[in-house]
Amino acid sequence: MTRVLTRQARRLAPPAAVAALVLAAWYFGSYVLIDADRRFLLPAPHEVVKVGFGDPANLAELLAALRLSAEVAVTGLVCAAVLGLALAILMSQARWVERSLYPYAVALQTVPVLALVPLLGFWFGFGFSSRVLTCVLIALFPIVANSLFGLRSVDPALHDLFTLHRAGRLTRLVKLQLPAALPAILTGLRISAGAAVIGAIVGDFFFQQGEPGLGQLIYVYPRRLQSEMLFAAVFLASAFGVIVFWLFGILARQATSWHSSQHRRPDTGGAPR
């Protein structure tokens, strides 16, 4: 038991040391490098915590915004996952479907979706639905590309095995292709999750109307010179992204424990191979 704890401590010590260094540098910048009258550029960490998270009204404002952004991100991600997987399955069934649709999926990836935000607001209003749509547009491609790659990369010998037993399309899809593609699908989902978080927060930043999420707060705080609140909001947004990414990493490892490469491959942060 103590040995496990020692090992954990040894594993956590280096990143903890880095965090301590960063905090030290932050205080140094805040109190030594910057004059007192310009300290709003870099308020000290404890000031950020005191103002942002210690004051109940401020905290409520931040948490309400976080909740809204999280709802947008999760809804967008779920829609993107369902739609993306469905598209990938369709494309995996016939080359002509892939040839017809894939170029548009790629185009979607190259279109600066955030530049479309005013247009989306114009068409669908500045509320929840157009925010979710922004998320979906940003998060769709990784899930489509990774799922399709997974569905297509099944070992040909396994396909032969299914052909030999006269398996139909659906059986092949359910019993062979989808399970074999699961690691790739989860990789896509993880990248999409990151994208959905960015879509929710940055999209909100651009919408500038409607109920405020974290993005809008990040937009207005600097204009009101509320720098502690700005730092608190940025911190929440970052933590939200990191936690989502980390959760999907755990999910991927749990769901694909049979996949031997999961044990050996270094964690590439979910980048597609």
Binding site: D160, L161, L164, R166, A167, T171, K175, P179, H259, S260
Partner: protein, 255 residues
């Protein structure tokens, strides 16, 4: 068993030309009697896998005809082709699952097949935790659940070590003796071909074709010691001579 005495497998002047233009097989004619175990040897790339894919109906010939007397065929691939997310037992059940065998019977057959290959104790393990030889046995067990009349083996022991390979060969012999399926075994080991089969077909490449055959009249069951007998040595040297472009005539050897 196919009872009517028709050949389990026939090929008549079969040719295969792949889209790229490669002539993988040219003018191949062969016939496999029910319950006959035949081996095929040849240099790599001479069309051995193509021959087996034809026999299994995974590929259509571009010339000639392929006939099979039975639909109950088993195919043992070079790799074990197990689904890594399924337990050993559920992998063995897969064949019956795909062909619509009722769940109960599927389970019984899988249990029996696993017992026959000596792997009942790892039925709940995932394939990734087994050795290469064990995975090959699971693959063999999966094939056995279909009660095949014709078994096709594509270099089935190519990826396991020498000792395991010998053991798998002996297991195969036992299964063959008990079930009496017809077998077509592709291998690149001359000794293995002679040891396991009643007849060795020799292939050459460019284009892939049969260049001769050697009958192996050694009685079953064959024990590993038979490999050191003069008759065995004589047979392997005949096959080797054919492989090296020696006489293409049919050679008979008395036991």
């Amino acid at each position: 068993m196919t009872d009517d005495g028709r050949p389990a497998l026939t090929m008549e002047a079969v040719g295969v030309r792949y889209p790229g233009g490669t002539v993988a097989l040219d003018g191949v004619t062969l016939s496999l009697a029910p319950g006959e175990f035949t081996a095929v040897v040849g240099p790599s790339g001479c069309g051995k896998s193509t021959l087996l894919r034809l026999a299994a109906g995974l590929l259509k010939p571009t010339a000639g005809t392929v006939g099979r007397a039975t639909e109950r065929l088993g195919f043992v691939f070079q790799d074990s082709t197990l689904l890594p997310w399924r337990s050993v037992r559920r992998n063995v059940e897969l064949a019956g699952e795909l062909t619509g065998v009722p769940a109960r019977e599927r389970r019984d057959r899988a249990g029996e097949a696993l017992r026959r290959v000596g792997l009942s104790h790892v039925a709940d393990a995932l394939p990734g935790t087994l050795s290469g030889g064990m995975r090959m046995r699971v693959s063999l067990a999966r094939t056995l659940t279909g009660r095949p009349d014709l078994m096709l083996f594509d270099e089935p022991f190519g990826s396991v070590d020498e000792i395991t390979r010998g053991r798998l060969g002996d297991d195969l012999q036992e299964l063959f003796a008990a079930d009496g399926f017809a077998g077509l075994l592709v291998t690149h080991s001359v000794a293995e071909a002679v040891y396991l089969s009643q007849r060795v077909l020799v292939m050459a490449d460019r284009p892939g074709r049969l260049v001769g055959e050697v009958a192996v009249p050694l009685p079953y069951p064959r024990r590993p010691e038979v490999r050191f007998s003069p008759a065995f040595t004589e047979l392997t040297s005949q096959v080797t001579a054919l492989l090296q472009g020696g006489t293409a005539d049919r050679i008979e050897v008395a036991a």
